[in-house]
C-alpha cells in the first residue's frame, strides 16, 4: 500500500489509521497470523495500532496482547494467566530511557555508577530470562534513546556521570546479549529517534500528557522500523533486487547518450552519486540478496553500460539480466521463474513511476520504492527495510555465488540429451542427517521462507526446531547438496512425529534451487531408513494446498505412497509401508 511506503506521511497514517486498517483487511490477500505480546513501560496503544498496519501490509495478520500500563517488568517476571493463555509467537518489550530507574548523579563515584549500570543491566536480563523460561519465543527489546538534555553538554557522552554515557554503556550490554542469544533481537530505538530528530522525538509534552515515550508523529517511523524486524524474524523479507539501468544505476539514457555519455564514476557530483548507489547495491549482494537487471534497452547497450570502466557493478554481479523492449511486468515474472522464486520476493527499483505502477499493479506483493532523486536512492531502499535480515548465515553470504553456479549447471544441462546422464555428470553428493545445533538457524530460516516445495507450510521457531532435535518422539532430517559446480548449502528439511508404529510427516520442504535433481528421493531414502531403524511400519504424508505449493500436490504419489483420503479443500493424506521399501535415489552419493 503506497500510503505505508517510505517516505510516508505520519499525520495521514495517524489520522486515517482506522480506514487504512479496514482497507488492508478487506484486500483479499492471504496473511500469516501471528500473536504478539507487547509489554510496555509507556503507553503502547497507538504504537500497536500503527504497527498492525505495517504488519498487515507485509502479509502478517497480528493479534496483540498489551499488558497493563507500564507493567512490563511485573508481567515478565510473573506472567499473568491472560498472557500465558495468549501463547505469544513473539514478545516485544517497549521500554525507553523513561524507564531507567537510577541515573548517575553528579556526586556519584565511579564505583557507584558502575553498580547502577550493573543493576539496570541485570534487571533487564532477569526479565529476558524469565520470558524465555515461560514462553520460548523470540523477544524484541528496544534499546535506549539518547537523553533529551545533556547536563554535561559535550562531556555528557564520555564522563561517567553523563546520562548519555550511561545510556551508551547500557546499550553495549544489550548488544552483547543480542550477540549471545539467538532468540533475542534489538529494536534500535536509538537509531530511529536520531533519524526522526531527537528533540522532536522526545518532546516531554507527550510523556507528561499521555505517557508516550515519543511524540505522536514519530510513531509511524518507529512502528515501521519495528515491523521490518518482525517480518524478517518471520521470514518474510524480500530476496531479490531487480534494477532498472537508465537513471537508476547511472545518470542518463545509454541508448541516446552512448556509453561515454552516461554519468557514473568520479567525474562530477551526479556520477559520484550513482557510483555510491552502485556500491550500496553491491553491499546488498554481499548479504545474499540476488541482483537482477530489468531494463528497456538493447542487451548490447545494457552490457556496455554495465562494463563501463568507472562503474562499480559488473554484468557478473547480476544473476539475471533482462534488457529488451518487452513490458517490465513480463520480464519480472520471467526473472522470478528463472530464479525459482515468487514475484513477491522481488524489490523493483526504477526511477520511472509509470514502470513501478505497471509492475505493482500486476504483482501487488512486489515492493517498488519511490526513486525520485539519486541522492535519495540509498535512503529509500534502506529505510524501506525490505532486505533486513533476522540473522545471517553461511548460505546467505554465498547466495550470489550459488546462482552463478546454477547458471553453469544450466549450460551443462543443455549439452545432454538424456537427463539421467546429466544428473550423473553433476557428481552430486548429499549430507543428510538428523538435526544438529549448528544447523538449527539455517533449518529454521529455510522452513519459514519456503513456500513452493512445501507440503504442509508449517512454520517453526528456532526453539521448536530445537525441541524436534532433542525429542525422541520426533525425527528431524536436514539435507545439504553439493555437486561439481559448487555447494548448494542446506536445501531440504523433513520433520516427522512418531505415534506408536506410525510416523506422521509434519514438514517436508526443499529449496527450489535444487528442483529435479532427485534430492527428494535421497531424503525419502534416509527417512525410510530412519523409520525402519525405529520399528515404524507406516509413514504417513500430508499435503495442504496453498496458493503457492501446487507443484508438490502429487509428490507423495511419485514416492509410491497410496492416497488414503482427500477432503473438499484438496488436502490429502498418504501412506507408505516401510517393509519392502526400495531406494529411489540413483544419482546422489551420500556422505
Amino acid at each position: 500500500m503506497k500510503e505505508l511506503q517510505y517516505p510516508f506521511d505520519s499525520h495521514y497514517i495517524l489520522q486515517k489509521k482506522k480506514s487504512l486498517r479496514r482497507s488492508l483487511l478487506s484486500d483479499g490477500s492471504a496473511r500469516f497470523p501471528k500473536k504478539i505480546a507487547v509489554l510496555g513501560g509507556s503507553t503502547t496503544s497507538d504504537i500497536v495500532r500503527i504497527l498492525e498496519l505495517f504488519l498487515l501490509d507485509q502479509g502478517i495478520e497480528p493479534s496483540f496482547y498489551e499488558c497493563e500500563y507500564g507493567q512490563y517488568e511485573q508481567e515478565a517476571l510473573f506472567p499473568g494467566d491472560d498472557l500465558k493463555a495468549f501463547q505469544p509467537d513473539l514478545i516485544f518489550l517497549h521500554t525507553s530511557s523513561r524507564n531507567i530507574r537510577n541515573w548517575p548523579e553528579a556526586s556519584d563515584t565511579p564505583g557507584v555508577i558502575c553498580q547502577k549500570l550493573a543493576d539496570e543491566t541485570s534487571r533487564f536480563q532477569t526479565i529476558w530470562n524469565s520470558l524465555r523460561d515461560h514462553f520460548h519465543c523470540p523477544m524484541i527489546q528496544n534499546n535506549f534513546e539518547a537523553p533529551f538534555f545533556r547536563l554535561l553538554g559535550n562531556a555528557d557522552c564520555w564522563d561517567l556521570r553523563g546520562r548519555s554515557h550511561f545510556i551508551s554503556e547500557l546499550n553495549r550490554a544489550l548488544e552483547a546479549y543480542a550477540r549471545e542469544h539467538e532468540d533475542f533481537y534489538i529494536s534500535d530505538l536509538n537509531y530511529t529517534s536520531a533519524d526522526f530528530g531527537l528533540s522532536r522525538f522526545s518532546d516531554p509534552y507527550y510523556w507528561n500528557m499521555y505517557k508516550y515515550c515519543m511524540c505522536l508523529d514519530a510513531i509511524p517511523c518507529f512502528a515501521h522500523s519495528l515491523a521490518s524486524l518482525i517480518k524478517a524474524i518471520f521470514g518474510r523479507g524480500k530476496k531479490v533486487l531487480a534494477l532498472d539501468l537508465d537513471n537508476t544505476l547511472w545518470g542518463g539514457v545509454i541508448g541516446d547518450d552512448g556509453v561515454s555519455g552516461i554519468e557514473i564514476g568520479q567525474e562530477n557530483g551526479t556520477a559520484q552519486s550513482y557510483y555510491e548507489f552502485q556500491q550500496y547495491v553491491k553491499q546488498l549482494k554481499s548479504l545474499g540478496i540476488v541482483l537482477s537487471v530489468c531494463s528497456k534497452n538493447d542487451e548490447e547497450n545494457a552490457l556496455e553500460g554495465l562494463n563501463h570502466p568507472e562503474g562499480f557493478l559488473k554484468p557478473d554481479d547480476f544473476a539475471v539480466i533482462k534488457a529488451n523492449w518487452d513490458n517490465k511486468d513480463s520480464n519480472i515474472l520471467q526473472t522470478a521463474q528463472e530464479l525459482g522464486l515468487l514475484p513477491e520476493s522481488i524489490v523493483f527499483a526504477d526511477d520511472n513511476p509509470v514502470e513501478r505502477d505497471i509492475v505493482t499493479a500486476r504483482f501487488p506483493g512486489i515492493a517498488a520504492p519511490v526513486m525520485d532523486r539519486v541522492e535519495n536512492y540509498i535512503l529509500h531502499l534502506d529505510r524501506g527495510g525490505y532486505f533486513e535480515p533476522a540473522s545471517l548465515n553461511e548460505d546467505d553470504l554465498k547466495r550470489a555465488q550459488m546462482y552463478q553456479e546454477n547458471k553453469k549447471r544450466d549450460i551443462e544441462r543443455a549439452q545432454f540429451s538424456d537427463y539421467g546422464e546429466y544428473l550423473s555428470s553433476l557428481n552430486m553428493e548429499a549430507e543428510i542427517g538428523e538435526f544438529i545445533p549448528m544447523y538449527i538457524p539455517r533449518i529454521t530460516q529455510l522452513t519459514n521462507k519456503s513456500n513452493q516445495f512445501n507440503l504442509t507450510t508449517r512454520r517453526y521457531t528456532p526453539d521448536e526446531m530445537e525441541a524436534v532435535m532433542n525429542s525422541p518422539e520426533y525425527i528431524g532430517l536436514y539435507g545439504k547438496l553439493t555437486d561439481k559446480f559448487g555447494d548448494n548449502g542446506l536445501v531440504s528439511v523433513v520433520v516427522g512425529h512418531i505415534a506408536g508404529d506410525v510416523l506422521d510427516i509434519d514438514l517436508w520442504l526443499m529449496s527450489c534451487r535444487v528442483l529435479k535433481r532427485d534430492m527428494e528421493y535421497a531424503m525419502l531414502d534416509a527417512l525410510a531408513a530412519e523409520a525402519a531403524a525405529r520399528n515404524i511400519s507406516v509413514i504417513r504424508g500430508y499435503y495442504f494446498p496453498t496458493k503457492k505449493n501446487h507443484m508438490v500436490k502429487d509428490l507423495y504419489e511419485s514416492f509410491g505412497f497410496t492416497k488414503i483420503s482427500e477432503d473438499e479443500n484438496g488436502s490429502t493424506v498418504w501412506e507408505l509401508n516401510t517393509s519392502g521399501y526400495t531406494s529411489k535415489n540413483r544419482y546422489i552419493r551420500l556422505l
Partner: protein, 80 residues
C-alpha cells in the same frame, strides 16, 4: 473563519479519525455520543485537530475540554 466553518472542518476530521461517515457534530457533542471516543482516541483526535487548524492546545485544555463547543471556541480564538 466563523463557527459554522470550524464545525464543518472539525466534522471532517472526526469522520476521518473514527472512520465513520455518519458523524454529525454539534456544539453539544461529547465523548459519550461517539462510541470509540475514549481517552486513547482523544490523543489521536487532538493531534488531528491541531494539524488541521495549525494550532496547539494547552495541556490543561486537552484534559478539561467538555464538549465540541469548547473545542470550537478555542480554535476560533487561536487559529488565524
Amino acid at each position: 473563519m466563523n463557527e459554522r466553518q470550524i464545525l464543518e472542518r472539525l466534522n471532517y476530521v472526526f469522520r476521518d479519525v473514527f472512520d465513520d461517515e455518519s458523524i454529525v457534530l454539534s456544539r453539544r457533542t461529547t465523548a459519550d455520543d461517539i462510541e470509540d471516543w475514549d481517552s486513547l482516541e482523544h490523543i489521536t483526535l487532538i493531534a488531528a485537530v491541531e494539524a488541521e487548524f495549525h494550532i496547539r492546545f494547552k495541556m490543561h485544555e486537552v484534559s478539561t475540554m467538555k464538549n465540541v463547543g469548547e473545542m470550537v471556541d478555542i480554535i476560533a480564538a487561536r487559529a488565524r
